[in-house]
Structure formats: C-alpha cells, structure tokens
Subunit: 259 residues, 2 copies
DNA sequence: GCATACCGTTCCATATTATGAAACTTTTTG
DNA sequence: CAAAAAGTTTCATAATATGGAACGGTATGC
C-alpha cells in the first residue's frame, strides 16, 4: 500500500477562488447556481467567493440578469506581465521586421508543457483574412509550426512524452495523426533549420516557424509567419525561410546564444 | 459617532493572494521577505500563499535566485476574457479599416472609473516609432484623446468628479493642467464630434479619437488613431476626422445606437 | 575560514476564518 | 397566482489559516 503523499493546495479558498475565475473565463457570464453546480460547491460558498472577487474588482454582477462575470482587471495584470517579459521586448523589433517584409501575420510563442502559448501577435498587413489565434491562446505543440520548431530541439523521449500527453485531434486532412510522421517531419526541421505547417492546423493556412536559442538551456520560444495558401505559396515560403533563419540567428545571438 | 459598517472582503486569504499577485505583477521577480515586508504579512503566511499560487500554476520560483514571479497563466485568462468581449469583436474589423487607411496606430479603450483601459491595439503599419501603450495599460482620462472623447459625453459634475479624482500630472508642456481649459476643450469635442490629443500626453504624438454610442446608456468605449506629429499634421488630422466619424457612426449603429 | 546574519522552509498549537445548513427574499416559470 | 428556482443572509460548528518558533542553507562580513 504505497503511501502517496499527494501534494495539495495549502490554501483551500485560494484554490476555489481560482476555480470560479477559470470557470467564468471559460464560459463567460454565469449564474450563481450554475457555478455552484459545475464546481460542486455549496451555493453559499460560491456566493461568498464571488463577493470577494467583486470586492477586489476582479468580477462584477450584471444588474439585469444578476449573472456574474469577470472584469478586465486581470487583463491589466496580464499586460504588466507581458511588459516585463524580457524576451518579448527583445524580440519585438525583429518580429516587426518580419511583419514589414512579409506583410503576413507574425507570432511569438512560449512553451507551456505540451502546449504553446501565444504571447505576441502582429496582424497581417495585407488582406482581410484573420487568423483565430490571439495573445493568451494555448495550442497543442504537435500540430503547429512553432510547436514543431521547438520539438525538433528535444530528445526523442521528450517528443514522445509530448505526443503521449497530447490529445491528438484531426483538424484538417493534413493534420499529423501518427507519431512516425511527426518524427520524420522533425528530422526535416532539424535538417532545414525551420519548421513548416502546411495546412495541418487550419485549412488554407501555411506557416513557417523557427525557434529561439539561448534563453534557457532548453528551447522555450519560437516565432512564425503565417498566411493564406493563396499568398504563402511553397515558393514564397522558401523565400521567407531565408528571412526567418536570419532573424532566428540574430535574435538568438542577442539573447545570448553563440554558435 | 457615525457607525460606519465598512464593507470588507469576506475571504481574507483571497484578498491576500491577490495582493501577492498584484505585487509580483507590479515589481516582477521578488523574494519572499521582500513581499512579506511590503505587504506587512508574516513570511510564513506569504510562503504558504506562494506555494498555493505555484500549485495552481499562477506563479513559479526561479531555481537560481529562489525569487518568485508570476507565470503566464493569467495571460491566458486575460485572452479568454478579451475574446468574449462582444464590443471588441464587433469593433475589430472597423478599427482594422482605420488602420489600413491611415497606417497609424489604432486603439480601442474602455472606461474604468477615472481611467481608461486599453483593450485593443493595432500597431502602426508605417514607420518605426512605437507607442508605449499596450493592451492592459491603464491611463488617466483627462490627458488622452480617448478619455476626452468619453468625458465630452458626461454631465459637468461627472467631469468634475473625474478631474478631482485624477492625479493631475504634467507629461508635456501641452498637458491640460487646469480645469477651465479641460472644459473648453470638451465643448470643442462636442462641437466637432471628435477629440484631439495634440502632444498633451506624449511629446511628438498627435491623436484623434471618438467615442462609441449605444453599448450602455453611459458611453464606455472610445477609439483613436495616433501617430507622430511628423505624419499627423493638423491637415491630415482633419482628413482623418472624416473617417473617424464615419466609423463612429457605423459602429455605434451596429452596436445598437440609432440617431 | 569562521561567525553571523539573512533568507527560505517546515512544523504545530491556537485562534480565526471559512463552511454549509437553514431560513429568508426575490425572481422566474408554469 | 402559485410554485419553483435563484439569489442572499445568518449563524453555530468544524475546518482552515495563522504566525511564532525552530531548522537548514546560503550569502556576508570580519
């Protein structure tokens, strides 16, 4: 009988308060009973937690519907976190250069376990098609150019762990759904120095990505240029690859990576 | 002896947890004792709160320095909040149109008491000068074009209240620092239908702004085009005013405002 | 190189705080 | 208009957070 001393949150009410917040962030406006039922907490408890959130300015109650929702106070906190993020501040001008010369959407992402988190986005300067991505969005690694760019720097067993830890979902008919193909593609990424996402994630969207070396021992960040297949022809991607690799090199060097 | 039954937070530890988070968001990496001293809480208490934040994924501890900092988990929460914000989703294409035709920085802001909060920003498509603004940033109303656009819709006593509730700070030699001038400018805004910020907030930056009608009874949102004085000449501003007012009208109508 | 001071961490008895049942009020629904 | 559901308030009780104290590690100063 293995005595598992499982780690537990030392502050119960903190845990519950964030459960409520996450619930509201996920579902938008909710009623008290709805939250109570979803979390399995007594309505009296939920009410108290909500009053606390309102008191602190993180939530509010709609006067008409009486439903609860989050305010923008965490948006403000989020902004401060991003402004303090040194890698973002350093990368920004480089990414803007990529945006200027391609006119396409540019992203900077950060690894979070088996997923990547979008921390910066520059909207396309041409065309009217908008990508669904947005700052704060979390996405699986295995089906994104940036994710593959990061995975390509990891030893096989870690790649395997990410694969096993991800829920493999087919988004388009080109989505990678078997591990062998992922491995083959990662070798190509290592060979070429950049990663491609050829409509694997979103129909009609092609993307070229590269990672950033030198921030931590393990690679944690990557960036990409994405656009509609109409403009992002295979040929154009090959052209952009030159710029992407150049930015990768310069930026990695500025961050502190040599060779 | 007026028995003031001041409202208090019904969940003490929630209050403290957010005090810790806000502290870290404001100051970045901090040591345990530093937080403890700043908040006047016992180090043991702060430690427990931090362990809770780490457990939930909102904070982490640097292995080297042992200092604590926030992770990007609230960035993710923030992203979800913004994606649910209907007015932002509706306004986005209109603001992009303004961005396309001007090439300058475009903002959408939301009133938060005496301040405005930036909820959306489109970077300038021309030039290399970057504005310091960012999504999540909070700014006083009295010294911004968007702020004046909103204030111009309020009755005098509310304007007065905002003025009194703001810390008047001179940012440039053109910053409004007396109430009479603010009032005069607000009359102009009412007359013209748009607000100007002529280097009042940031040296070398001119901005034209208008509010959005129809979302709530009170006006809560405004948008703007900003750029360096070199490109944003008085004449160009007059030209852009036409587009700004057009977007104001169309957008207000789409939101649900008639006449 | 040793002593001291400082920081971070852990433990624990105690007092405070959060809890949830129940009662009450308001709103919605049939 | 009645009944049900949602939201709010109260309160005794149980559980939780609290902070003093002590421990261990690391940096600082002599």
């Amino acid at each position: 009988m293995a005595e598992e001393k499982e780690a537990k949150n030392p502050v119960q009410s903190a845990e519950r308060i964030f459960q409520v917040m996450e619930m509201l962030a996920e579902n938008g406006e909710m009623g008290l009973m709805e939250i109570s039922a979803a979390l399995g907490l007594h309505k009296s408890t939920v009410h108290r937690l909500l009053m606390s959130l309102i008191y602190m300015g993180y939530a509010k109650q709609d006067e008409g519907s009486q439903k609860y929702m989050l305010t923008c106070k965490v948006v403000s906190m989020s902004g401060k976190i991003l402004e303090r993020m040194d890698i973002l501040q350093i990368a920004r001008p480089y990414l803007e250069r990529l945006s200027d010369l391609s006119g396409e959407t540019v992203h900077l992402v950060q690894r979070e376990g088996n997923n990547i988190l979008y921390v910066y986005k520059i909207e396309a300067k041409v065309g009217t098609i908008r990508m669904v991505s947005h700052v704060g969005m979390v996405h699986p690694m295995y089906c994104s150019g940036v994710g593959k760019a990061i995975m390509a720097t990891l030893p096989e067993r870690e790649v395997r762990a990410i694969w096993d830890g991800s829920e493999i979902e087919r988004h388009t008919d080109k989505t990678i759904v078997d591990y062998d193909r992922l491995q083959r593609e990662l070798s190509e990424v290592r060979r070429d120095g950049y990663a491609l996402d050829d409509e694997e994630n979103e129909k009609g969207v092609r993307c070229i990505a590269a990672c950033l070396y030198g921030y931590k021992k393990e690679v944690t960040h990557a960036f990409s240029i994405s656009g509609p297949t109409s403009r992002m022809t295979r040929e154009r991607v090959r052209e952009l690859a030159v710029d992407v690799k150049k930015v990768q090199e310069e930026l990695s060097r500025e961050i502190g990576y040599y060779k």
